[in-house]
Subunit: 598 residues, 2 copies
């Protein structure tokens, strides 16, 4: 049935919405695709719903090709399964919790690993039932602290989440690959550029974890890639560990006065003013050729507090080269599921041995940082702090630092930790050259969960030998509403949206112009003809609306092919308008119909 | 793509689920369509999801035919709109409420009238934009006190809810009729018998309200219908008011001793034992020919408490003929939005003039019931208590009653109220004869909301004269998951489900039997051929599963047409099995394919 704009539920807006931070949000609201209902929560208008349905249809198609079956879980779920997995607590403020009238605890599910696991446990019991891949397309809820950027980070959003179930690691690899391949096809069909990056594999102990990132400036994720083909999320980047340096020939640690140098920069300036230039080999590989003191010669000791799941709070000190920062995302991943907080004044008061601005691992009377030290505080080192590297760092005395403090000789840590920021030029861990940094938006994630949920929730099957084995799982997510927003973010110009044909809300927009009944009659019959040949047609049949307004609306809405029926109608001439290229061509009706239905 | 049972996510169960109260629940769980996730909350398995999608497709199709456009509102909504309409409070315990991390109030929407109203207000402003009909198919939430009967009364369920917007009553009537017609077509396509009954039009002040009930024994709703075509929900039934009776010739009220007669039956027995038989005309029309005292001669005064929205509690007394009960549903509707509670011992202690078991409207010293009486308690009468009817009722003295107490002469009420139960044989209000009672399940509701929400939320448009007029709305709901359950409830036998073709999860189930590769090869090629011709095929390709198990599964699943490929395969013979009739017919492959694709 031809959709007539005179009746269709649509109101385009000339003004940008006041709260729109990004192009997709601005255009989707202005062109009548979505409306805001609450922070991070949107109402879908007919145009938006049609695009969303087309994206979902592509996903369903490729899930079927990958042998996955569709199910649908409730959004409102009881606490128990999430209690068993520990996530009722670990989600913290990030989920919506509620009670029913009897006081029982419920949540609005942010993801459904527990439910998928329990469903399969409920129904399956033998290796013969596996492999199995099942998925849902479902509305999910996360109580984001800062919902923003329209659909890009909402509190109610639509996801496709798939899970695979295998009883061998080889089976799991095959299931993973099938979903990974399906994701590639989905993004190709959506015309959406993607980079597959290695991602952190989190707490679940799974083996592989990759994110599909769309490289885009408004992206929330930073990733690194090398010309040689390496790509990873910054959280997953691993430092190339330099070779250890022999201790031979290194001088002893020297404490020196360093008044008013609580920051790395003041310390470097002071050192260059008051110390001899650094001897070659006196510091780590990044500073080997330095002729003066630099931030890279210094060891920065950052005090953080970890809030563990059981509620306990632990101080931890991170030693990183002074030219690096502790990266928020890397530190979050490194210590998960504990939450990381800055240390407070109270923490320093409780630990008088920590002299703010002058903290270091060593003192003349013994170790100051580390579980076996005077403070007893866990001390973790950046992997670059290899044995034999010499550092300028705090002497644990107000206004004093120490230099030629050698790792592995004068101090050691309780272990290493990957939390320093990654910089352009850092080596790719696979030896494929230096990395560059880019911004991306996560559009998909394929992830070997391994046996965490199956173990926790007791999902086992009998294998060929009648032995109970724990099932291994994969998790595969695509953000449907996020993809829609990214497509809008990418496909637009200063006039409005320009949808790719695969997801456009209509195949053709027919615009009747003028006051001549001939034009409207022709537009009407052409619309019917196009619909009859299987195209989905939006017909702008509005009387008393100027061609200018109609064209502006068509450009804003972004149907890729527009057919104008106006002045030439009496002569059987119409105009075909390619929204993306802007090309307009006058041709006979039959020719236009043939082109559109080709 | 042919769906192969060897890989499909399905496990049929031989045992009924322990909590299944009704056939639909039992079979949908056993045949692998749904699983329980929490009380009244279900997970949809692939088979169930396919049937649900088919029902939704029929609804979408008929909504499009009725000129309605699809939108989609969030399930998670802020409090404000519901606060404005008063429903945040009036829903009581019936909805799920929650806070976000900032402490803001949210709810899981049970219906979306407010949001639809605000959306149209947000976008439309002129009579030229109307009429408009929009709808959604969406998961809704109600915190039912007693979720039961599987999908028939759940806490998370899918509904299609449509709303129409007009600026004239005539327009509203046309929009209403379009939806009503669409509902008839939907139920016809689903093969679902329905009765359209007049329904209570509630608090909104709308003009028309009709329910589509499916007549079914497990139905929660009682409705009445006459042979002459009247049909109504019991809540909407209106009593035919008898003519008033002249007071002339009626005796004076007589107080009489009636020890130990706190109930109607004891009072009737006592009266027959100790009083003269009732004189003709001494009571109302229902008792005109009685030769002895009956319950219909007595006036029962029932004390109830109303809990108003503002939290106040009010006692009210209802006077009904003693042979009728106060009907729970009718009383609920009559006093909505106030909640109705039984009176407590405390209420009687607070009102010592009310002598329990001997309450009446009259005493020798003046009126006892009514706003202007000694108690001041509001007193409402059944419409049958017309002027001139004479009653036996309490004398407000322990162990004493009064007879020949005449309505309109000796007592009056503060008004009339429709709360007495309806009985088979009661007259239809349209004069179409006596009614009979039947049970039904609500499957749809079309409802003229009128201007309540538009007024409350400020939805006005400019009319042809540039004058702001309030929009009038209609509300049209269909329970999608409920319909699925009713279809399962109706379409089954002792072997399992038998789906109508319009909603069956697959068009054909192909079953390969035996161990002969020829049979499996033929089944494979026939399945592919049927799929290629547009049918959705479930192919039972399981090796090492006996024909008996395969047939039992096919019968349980309920695909209406089954094709068995087994022993005759080598000769090109297959067996076509009609699940509903049970007919099985052996015929050549080509003939079977021709029949299935016809």
């Amino acid at each position: 049935m031809v959709t007539r704009l005179s009746h269709f539920f649509l109101r385009t807006l000339r003004e940008d919405p006041a709260d729109a931070e990004v192009t997709s949000h601005r255009l989707l609201v202005r062109a009548g695709y979505i409306r805001r209902a609450a922070p991070g929560i949107f109402t879908w208008l007919p145009l938006g719903l049609k695009v969303k349905a087309k994206i979902e249809a592509i996903i369903r198609d490729e899930m079927a090709n990958a042998g996955a079956y569709e199910v649908h879980f409730p959004a409102l779920l009881p606490r128990e399964p999430y209690e068993q997995s520990g996530r009722w607590t670990s989600y913290g403020d990030g989920i919506f919790r509620l009670h029913d009238r009897k006081g029982a605890d419920y949540l609005l599910a942010p993801t459904h690993e527990e439910m998928f696991t329990l469903l399969v446990k409920d129904l399956y019991s033998s290796y013969k039932d596996l492999p199995l891949s099942i998925y849902q397309i479902q509305d999910k809820y996360r109580d984001e602290a800062r919902p923003r950027a329209g659909l890009l980070r909402g509190r109610e959003f639509t996801m496709k989440d798939a899970y695979s179930f295998d009883y061998t690691d080889e089976g799991q690899d095959a299931s993973y690959q099938a979903q990974r391949d399906a994701y590639e096809r989905i993004f190709q069909r959506l015309g959406l550029e993607y980079v597959i990056v290695a991602a952190d594999n989190g707490l679940m102990g799974g083996a592989r974890s990759e994110e599909f990132l769309h490289p885009i400036a408004v992206g929330e994720d930073t990733f690194v890639r090398s010309a040689g083909g390496y790509a990873a999320n910054v959280e997953a980047y691993t430092t190339t560990i330099p070779d250890a340096i022999p201790f031979d020939g290194l001088g002893e640690p020297v404490i020196f006065d360093s008044p008013n140098t609580p920051t790395i920069q003041t310390l470097v300036d002071h050192s260059n003013a008051h110390l001899d230039a650094p001897a070659p080999g006196v510091a780590g590989p990044d500073t080997a050729d330095a002729t003066e003191w630099t931030a890279a010669h210094t060891l920065k000791n950052v005090v953080l507090a970890l809030r563990h799941l059981d509620g306990t709070r632990e101080l931890v000190i991170i030693g990183v080269p002074g030219d690096r920062e502790v990266d928020d995302k890397r530190v979050e991943v490194a210590f998960a599921p504990a939450a990381v907080e800055p240390a407070t004044e109270q923490d320093f008061e409780n630990n008088p041995l920590l002299v703010k601005g002058y903290i270091g691992p060593w003192s003349e009377t013994g170790a100051v940082l580390g579980e076996e030290s005077a403070t007893g505080i866990r001390f973790l080192l950046d992997p670059r702090v290899v044995d034999g590297t010499a550092w300028v760092t705090g002497a644990n005395i107000d206004q004093k630092h120490v230099h030629t403090l050698v790792a592995g000789r004068d101090f050691t840590g309780d272990g290493f930790v990957e939390v320093a920021n990654v910089r352009a030029g850092d080596p790719a861990p696979d030896g494929s050259g230096p990395v560059e940094l880019a911004r991306g938006m996560e559009i998909g994630h394929v992830f070997q969960l391994g046996r965490f949920f199956a173990e926790t929730l007791g999902l086992k099957v009998l294998d060929e030998n009648g032995k109970l084995v724990t099932v291994t799982m994969g998790s595969y997510g695509i953000g449907v509403t996020r993809i829609l927003a990214i497509l809008a973010e990418l496909n637009n110009d200063d006039k409005g949206l320009v949808w790719p044909e695969s997801v456009a809300p209509f195949d053709v927009q027919v615009v009747a112009t003028g006051r001549d009944a001939v034009a409207f009659d022709l537009a009407e019959s052409v619309s019917a003809q196009l619909e009859a040949s299987g195209l989905d047609v939006l017909y702008d049949d509005r009387a008393k609306v100027s061609p200018g307004v109609k064209f502006a609306d068509a450009e804003l809405i972004g149907v890729p092919r527009i057919l104008i029926v106006g002045r030439g109608a009496a002569d059987g001439q119409v105009e075909l308008w390619d929204r993306r290229s802007g090309d307009r061509e006058v041709l006979p009706v039959a020719g236009a119909v043939a082109r559109l239905t080709a």
